[in-house]
């Protein structure tokens, strides 16, 4: 026994898979401790805020500041405003206006802007330009101008009694605050989703729910499959016929179709995460049952089973001591695979809108569903779906890797 475990942990595939899984499990335990709270809380008002650190503007005004004279400050300010697509737009405008293309250097910010300031005038009507386009150029010009400006900002608040503005503070373009002095800073490593919820927090919680669904569904499927397989294989006769009849029915109907039909008929309100887990478990035991049956049929002819019979052991005892240990490793592997299939099945169901109801817990599938519904993939909000995809891939990758590792240990013919 200990020897087998040692062997298992000497299989590189198993160890890699195990480490990935351990990492996922650890982050699931540790992250909520570091960042507690409801994962479905809508903290942002907009949707799909991009990943990063958000500093409270309100609080930074109150924070003590220092002066830094940084040579790049102005350039940074401008290039922050000037995206790549803006540069191309500027070039297009200039060409349409009549500047020769050879004079324009896209990567040289200064020369590009010089040309722009020299030539642009919002009153000039370039031929064939739509109104929307003109407005865009006006907006761009405005934001560039504000970036170029060097005068200070004046922050003031309204004095209610005198009903006039009272200056609180002036802000120079060389003023800096230390982020640690700002009372409210929100780190959103994966931004927010369509409802303004912290994606990372949601992801960690979803990962837990999905794994739980996988465990429950996998356990149910393995248990049903094992029981049916053992009974059909060992008892044989009419029991075998009945079980094989049921199994064949389940084999003919693709389990995913069955899953869809059942989930659909349950109705949105009744579909909690555990219900979905049950449904997945009850529709995916078939191949475990078949495989276990095949193994048991070949086992029951072995002489150690015959010897057990001759020793007067009961059916139950023979199954438990003479059959089960021989297929245990196989059952463990089937269980691991079932977990991974169940997680994928939940994701598929949820993406079709037939997953658990959406208000209680996040699952990996639901997160995919939300980001698809709100077109995250179309508006470039990769953070709303890509980490979810990656997590699903990592979970099933690690489970399958562990499985192959186990297979190599238990199945000496596969060993290299």
């Amino acid at each position: 026994m200990t020897n087998t475990i040692k062997q298992i942990f000497h299989s590189p595939k198993f160890v890699v898979g195990f480490c990935i899984m351990a990492f996922i499990l650890l982050s699931m335990i540790i992250y909520p401790l570091v960042n507690p709270g409801n994962p479905l809380e809508m903290i942002g008002l907009g949707s799909f805020q991009k990943p990063g650190t958000y500093v409270s503007l309100y609080d930074s005004i109150d924070s003590s500041s220092t002066i830094f004279k940084l040579p790049d400050a102005e350039n940074n300010r401008i290039s922050q405003k000037l995206k790549d697509e803006d540069r191309i737009a500027i070039m297009n405008w200039l060409i349409d206006y009549g500047v020769s293309e050879s004079d324009i250097n896209l990567s040289d910010t200064n020369s590009l802007l010089d040309l722009w300031w020299k030539n642009y005038d919002s009153s000039i009507l370039v031929e064939g330009m739509t109104k929307a386009k003109r407005n865009y150029y006006m907006r761009l010009n405005k934001s560039l101008e504000s970036a170029k400006r060097t005068e200070e900002y004046v922050v003031s608040h309204t004095d209610k009694e005198l009903n006039e503005l009272e200056t609180v503070r002036t802000i120079e373009n060389t003023d800096y605050v230390n982020i640690q002095d700002v009372a409210n800073v929100k780190r959103l490593p994966l931004g927010t989703d369509n409802f303004g919820r912290d994606v990372l927090k949601e992801l960690v919680s979803a990962c837990g729910t999905s794994l739980r669904i996988g465990l429950i569904a996998g356990a149910i499927a393995t248990l049903i499959g094992l029981t049916f397989g053992l009974l059909a294989g060992y008892v044989g006769g009419i029991v075998d016929d009945i079980i094989m009849f049921i199994t064949n029915i389940f084999t003919v109907i693709p389990s995913f179709v069955l899953l869809l039909l059942i989930s659909y008929s349950i109705g949105q309100d009744q579909r909690g995460a555990s219900t979905i887990a049950l449904v997945i478990g009850f529709t995916s035991w078939v191949w475990t049952a078949r495989a276990v049956r095949a193994q048991v049929i070949s086992l029951r002819k072995r002489d150690h089973v015959n010897l057990s019979k001759l020793s007067g052991h009961s059916l139950i005892r023979i199954i438990i001591t003479d059959i089960l240990p021989y297929i245990a490793s196989y059952v463990v592997m089937a269980f691991i695979l079932q977990i991974s299939t169940a997680i994928l099945a939940e994701a598929q169901l949820s993406m079709l809108g037939l997953g658990p109801k959406t208000t209680e817990v996040p699952t990996l599938g639901l997160m995919m569903n939300w980001s698809m519904l709100y077109a995250a993939h179309l508006n470039g909000s990769w953070w709303a779906y890509f980490p979810v995809l990656l997590t699903i891939a990592l979970i099933s990758f690690s489970l399958n890797l562990m499985n192959t590792g186990l297979d190599q240990v238990f199945n000496p013919t596969l060993r290299d």
């Binding site: 002489d303 150690h304 015959n306 010897l307 019979k309 001759l310 007067g312 009961s314 003479d322």
Partner: protein, 280 residues
């Protein structure tokens, strides 16, 4: 004493019948894959007799032995136990039958549950014999006695797993099991097939010793006709599932009728030497 066209049985009047069979047939599979492993076989085994069933590999010896043990149901034919039709239809009756009928299987390596320590095998026998579970001293005494009988040291074996034993040790342990159970009928399926000549002699000695001690019937299955000649009272020669010749060992082997028996004997040079010595 006469013998033997196909499937005809010789008889010894003075001994009581113990196991006999009429038209026993076993067919595996169906259609193209149909395989008649045992084909319309008749036999009569008497109490205290040492019977050998001899045949080439694949002639259906093991299948016949499983039928005798009640581990396989014959497709056709009937088995009689002490002259009465054998009834092992219920679990209870089967358990009762197995109290008096035991086996040593052909392959010692697959005869043990590799997950159990070998003590389990012997303890199961003690349980069948009705030794109390709580009586540890008696258990150890009996197991030691059984191991001594087969030249094994119980102290060395206890707490070991089957894969830590050699094939010969496993086979001996199986005989120790028989020693503990003391069944009326023993079906030994090539109990020496995987064992060197020296150990083979000891194991056969043990079987004979057991027969003397308990007075049991031994049905000995082998492909070695020379061995059968030396050891048994009567022999059954099996070819392709059929019994082609049967009778007292001396008569069948020294004076074979069936061509198949002659061929078997010719394949064993030792037999001729023995024969020559005897006839001189």
């Amino acid at each position: 004493m006469t013998k033997t066209g196909n499937n005809e049985i010789y008889s010894t009047e003075e001994k009581a019948l113990c196991l006999s069979g009429k038209g026993v047939t076993k067919v595996f599979g169906s259609g193209d894959k149909k395989c008649i492993a045992v084909n319309n076989v008749n036999f009569k085994f008497h109490e205290g007799e040492f019977v050998s069933i001899v045949g080439e590999s694949g002639s259906g010896k093991t299948t016949l032995s499983k039928i005798l043990l009640g581990l396989l149901n014959p497709t056709d034919g009937e088995i009689f136990f002490k002259g009465e039709p054998r009834d092992i239809s219920s679990i209870k009756k089967r358990k009762e039958y197995w109290k008096g009928t035991q086996a040593i299987f052909q392959d010692p390596f697959s005869s043990f549950n590799i997950f159990n320590k070998i003590d389990t095998v012997l303890l199961d026998c003690l349980k069948m014999r009705g030794v109390k579970r709580s009586d540890k001293q008696e258990q150890v005494r009996l197991m030691t006695e059984a191991c001594n009988f087969v030249n094994l040291k119980f102290a060395e074996l206890t707490n070991k797993y089957p894969f830590e034993l050699s094939g010969g040790q496993m086979q001996r342990l199986m005989i120790a099991r028989i020693f503990l159970l003391k069944p009326k009928i023993l079906i030994a399926d090539e109990p020496t097939s995987m064992i060197d000549a020296c150990s083979r002699a000891t194991i056969l000695d043990m079987l004979l010793k057991l027969r003397e001690e308990i007075g049991m019937t031994i049905i000995f299955i082998t492909h070695d006709i020379g061995l059968a000649y030396y050891i048994s009272d009567s022999v059954y020669i099996m070819e392709h599932g059929k019994i082609v010749e049967s009778g007292l060992a001396d008569e069948v082997i020294l004076n074979p009728k069936a061509a198949y028996t002659k061929r078997l004997i010719n394949d064993v040079p030792k037999i001729h030497e023995a024969w020559d010595l005897d006839t001189v």
